[in-house]
């Protein structure tokens, strides 16, 4: 058995000041296997891989590669031993071509000059062999993110990698690109390469992996074959308790219209019309989900409702108040709550404390302030209550928001928006980048707020999230609503409409 093991990591231990990132972690990979490494943020996946890749020295434990003990002191050693790593953030030089990037550092020469055509030739061979379609002569700045990722994979293969580490490879990809990546992974596997696939997405791990190792709080919880594992069993191993993946909710009891959009037209900052005549209502006690591929006008639609983007024509009505050319302030005062899609760029001032962030909308109103004078103690008091209520972990009222994990940052944002008691709550990609436990919490909270009688507008790129939470689903495509479903509707139908299948759907 052990002779077909490419990699064995035994009892790996790594401590950082105050944290044991890896606590006697064991992990192995067979030849030609896709082995998924699954765990929540902070479970120790990246630490383990950085040790394997020679970026960290382990404090204890043993690494064997093809049966021989190894000790890497740099990434260069790891690369020479046949390990390749594709990071989440690509490291390519935009002004150079695909081929130049791939051969960088070990260029083929003809005399003193770079053998440009030789490099292109070898890149072409590699890309054909593994079905990684890229044009070797294209500039990096001109290719898509999915193609950049292929270049990174080619770079690793060019350096002779037999064991490939893919660190959260689908995080930056569209669903289509992710599908293509899976095909590439399968063709690499067919060629005898071994692949470590790091992820915290359960469905894709089940789809691509042969075996799955789950880490939790720096320890190995289990290694299981993908066959026979379920999302529920994996989630339980990851989080350490039963996780409700399906959201339980009662049928909606819709009331008055609290948010209405009438024939809205909005252009983006470059003057391109992104929202082209959208109308819909959201009633108290219902969740309306907007499904769509990224960039079809969702951002501009939300910004226009919240007074953050100029409206060309049409109206927005919040709680009966018409706010057409209103400021963000006016929208907030009319009762909008908004969990923005980018919590770090917009939802939080990372340098501010949690207490200051919670005051971001209402800092100028009692009890936070009176006559322009702030009362920080009251902010802190409110923050303390909300931190408890929303179970924000990792800090108190004075903790800098930037120091919190993504899930806890999102809880701070949600706490602020819900605590304002908004009549209409807009949740834009509320669970993006969060781990299973935080997603579960936010989903339950959104349903609870719906039951409180708020009108909730959910915008998400994750179709599954839309499907499981929404009482009514609208599909947006190129700035128009192309689908409107209240009853049962299949994922396929919505997927088709998301890709512009309006004509086909009508036919």
């Amino acid at each position: 058995m052990s002779d077909d093991l490419v990699l064995e990591m035994r009892d790996i231990r790594k401590e950082f000041p105050g944290v044991v990132a890896n606590d006697e972690v064991s992990f192995e990979v067979r030849r030609g296997e896709v082995h998924a490494l699954l765990g929540e943020n902070g479970a120790g996946k990246s630490t383990l891989m950085n040790i394997l890749y020679g970026l960290y020295r382990p404090d204890g434990g043993e690494i064997r590669l093809n049966g021989k003990p190894v000790s890497f002191s740099s990434a260069r050693d790891a690369i020479q031993a046949g390990i390749g790593m594709v990071h989440q953030h690509f490291m390519l030089i935009p002004v150079m071509t695909v081929a130049e990037n791939i051969v960088l550092g070990i260029e083929p020469h003809s005399g003193l000059l770079l053998d440009e055509s030789g490099a292109e030739q070898r890149v072409r061979e590699l890309s054909e062999r593994f079905g990684l379609a890229v044009d070797p002569t294209a500039l990096i700045s001109d290719i898509t993110v999915g193609q950049e990722q292929r270049v990174e994979i080619l770079k690793a293969l060019y350096r002779g990698a037999d064991l490939l580490i893919l660190d959260e490879p689908t995080a930056v990809l569209t669903p289509q690109e992710a599908g293509e990546l899976f095909e590439i992974v399968r063709s690499l596997q067919a060629d005898g390469k071994s692949i470590i696939f790091i992820s915290h997405k359960l469905n894709e791990v089940l789809e691509i992996a042969d075996r799955i190792t789950v880490l939790r709080r720096g320890r190995t919880i289990e290694t299981v074959p993908a066959q026979g594992a379920t999302e529920e069993s994996l989630a339980r191993a990851m989080v350490g308790r039963d996780v409700l993946l399906r959201v339980e909710k009662k049928p909606a009891e819709a009331g008055d219209v609290l948010l209405a959009v009438q024939d809205l037209h909005v252009s983006d900052d470059r003057g391109i019309e992104k929202v082209r005549g959208i109308s819909f209502d959201v009633r108290a006690g219902e969740i309306v989900g907007i499904a769509g591929v990224d960039g079809n006008g969702q951002t501009e639609l939300i910004d226009a409702i919240c007074g953050l983007q100029k409206i060309e024509s049409g109206t927005v009505t919040i709680g009966g108040r018409k706010l057409t050319h209103a400021s963000a302030r006016a929208a907030l005062d009319a009762g909008i709550g908004h969990i923005p899609e980018d919590r770090q760029r917009r939802g939080l001032v990372l340098e501010f404390s949690i207490a200051e962030n919670i005051a971001l909308h209402d800092y100028a109103k009692p009890p936070d302030a009176k006559w322009g004078w702030l009362f920080p103690a009251r902010m802190v008091q409110r923050a303390r209550t909300l931190i408890r209520e929303f179970d924000v972990r990792g800090g108190g009222p004075y903790t800098r928001a930037g120091g919190l994990s993504g899930g806890n940052q999102q809880k701070v944002v949600a706490a602020r928006e819900i605590d304002r008691d908004p009549s209409a709550l807009i949740a834009a990609q509320p669970t993006r980048g969060l781990d299973v436990g935080a997603i579960e919490y936010l989903h339950r909270r959104l349903v609870a707020e719906r039951d409180e009688g708020r009108a909730i507008l959910l915008v998400s790129l994750e179709l599954e999230e839309i499907m499981s939470l929404s009482d009514r689903i609208l599909v947006i495509y190129e700035g128009e609503i192309v689908g409107d479903h209240t009853g049962d509707v299949s994922e396929e139908q919505i997927g088709l409409e998301m890709l512009g299948g309006k004509e086909r759907a009508a036919a």
Binding site: N41, Q88, L350, A359, Y363
Partner: protein
């Protein structure tokens, strides 16, 4: 340790945030140690320069002793006794006069910085304060002294606020960068003063048409001295106004909704706008408040000793107090307490090197003048460089603790 996919880690997003956010992050990481080390480093370098040029360790030591005594800070060791005391006391009063001005020009830079803007226009705003305070201080003679002083100070402060506000308006409306506009406004203020008080100018003195200088501020509008020998330029009450300004700065930023808006805009204008804050209004308002601090510095200088405005001879239009405010604020981390200590350091340097070395007893006077600039320059250089020091410091820590994108790039590149 792994980050969620599409969400960059806090550290990374701060890297791409505003200047103020990046600076705040680096400075917090450095704590109080880095500015202190910076200053020590600058002194050590100056000492090496001195010792090398004089080819004598001893001379360099003596020169530093002269500088120290030139600042008058030795007064605290023997505050009551002999002749040295009165010389030291006088020197100290002069150092504190410089400090008064630098506190305010430092606050001017710091306040704009907290709103994410770089106000290079402190010098011009200071000049506007000088000019307007001179005009009000010369005219309106015969007013009640208290009223006259208050009027002159208010006028100088408000005029400078309006002056700086121009840069804020330009930024808010057409997006003109404040670094460019404030530098331009510096020169406009400079030549405006030259025209006002120059030959044939509307505010030239009324006695000698060949002398391009203003009238003296009327005695009733002068700030009373409270420390120093009679007949000399002593320490006037402006220092208390500057100290009060430090408190106002702190309270304004940390205890008012205005300050909350300023800080939110400074750290993250996108989040501020999302929070319902009018970002453009804040650019204009913060720039005006920033200018008010610099204008107050000018008004106090005019009413507290200089008393007239003269182009060319007098060093005021050529002084660099507005620009030194940048170094003061940077060293002081854009906080009230930091600005106080930064101003004290630069005030002492400014007067101590000029005056202490100027005596020529240790090194030749013509050399001393240049050494003054060298030492001041080194301190400013190292204050600027501490951002670099912090950067190196932080990347070291990043490498050790958690090497994502940046450091792994370095590790991978040679492969």
């Amino acid at each position: 340790m792994s980050d969620p996919g599409p969400t960059p880690s806090p550290e990374q997003s701060a890297e791409t945030g505003t200047l103020a956010a990046r600076l705040a992050l680096k400075q917090r990481a450095g704590g109080i140690i880095v500015p202190i080390v910076t200053v020590l480093f600058a002194f050590v370098m100056s000492f090496i320069v001195l010792a090398a040029t004089q080819r004598s360790f001893h001379t360099a030591l003596l020169a530093f002793k002269e500088i120290f005594e030139g600042t008058g800070l030795n007064w605290i060791f023997h505050p009551t006794t002999n002749l040295i005391t009165s010389i030291a006391a006088y020197n100290l009063s002069q150092t504190l006069l410089e400090t008064t001005t630098l506190i305010l020009t430092g606050l001017a830079v710091a306040f704009a910085f907290r709103c994410g803007m770089f106000n290079i226009g402190g010098q011009g705003q200071y000049l506007v304060g000088l000019i307007i305070a001179n005009w009000v201080g010369v005219d309106f003679a015969g007013l009640n002294s208290f009223v006259h002083i208050l009027l002159a100070i208010s006028a100088g402060t408000l005029a400078a606020a309006a002056w700086a506000g121009i840069a804020g308006v330009l930024k808010a409306t057409v997006g003109a960068h404040e670094v460019i506009t404030t530098i331009m406004l510096n020169w406009i203020a400079f030549w405006f003063g030259e025209w006002l008080f120059g030959a044939g100018g509307p505010l030239q003195n009324s006695t000698d048409a060949s002398n391009p200088v203003s009238n003296q501020v009327s005695p009733g509008a002068r700030l009373p001295d409270f420390w120093g020998p009679q007949g000399f330029q002593g320490l006037h009450i402006g220092i208390f106004i500057a100290l009060a300004a430090l408190v106002v700065f702190w309270a304004l930023l940390n205890r008012t909704t205005l300050g909350y808006e300023v800080r939110a805009v400074g750290f993250n204008p996108d989040a501020a706008a999302y929070g319902g804050i009018n970002v453009k209004k804040n650019f204009i308002r913060a720039m005006a408040i920033s200018g008010a601090f610099a204008g107050l510095a000018g008004a106090l200088d005019m009413l507290g000793g200089t008393t007239n405005y003269q182009f060319g001879q007098l060093d005021i239009p050529f002084s660099q107090v507005g620009f030194l405010g940048i170094a003061v604020a940077l060293l002081g981390r854009n906080t009230a307490v930091g600005t106080l200590f930064g101003a004290l350091l630069f005030g002492a340097l400014l007067y101590g090197t000029n005056h202490g070395l100027g005596s020529g007893s240790v090194i030749q006077p013509e050399l001393a003048g240049n050494l003054t600039y060298i030492i001041q320059g080194l301190v400013v250089l190292f204050v600027g460089a501490d951002i670099l020091i912090l950067y190196v410091w932080n990347s070291r820590k990043r490498l050790r603790r958690k090497p994502p994108a940046k450091s792994t790039k370095a590790a991978q590149a040679p492969a």
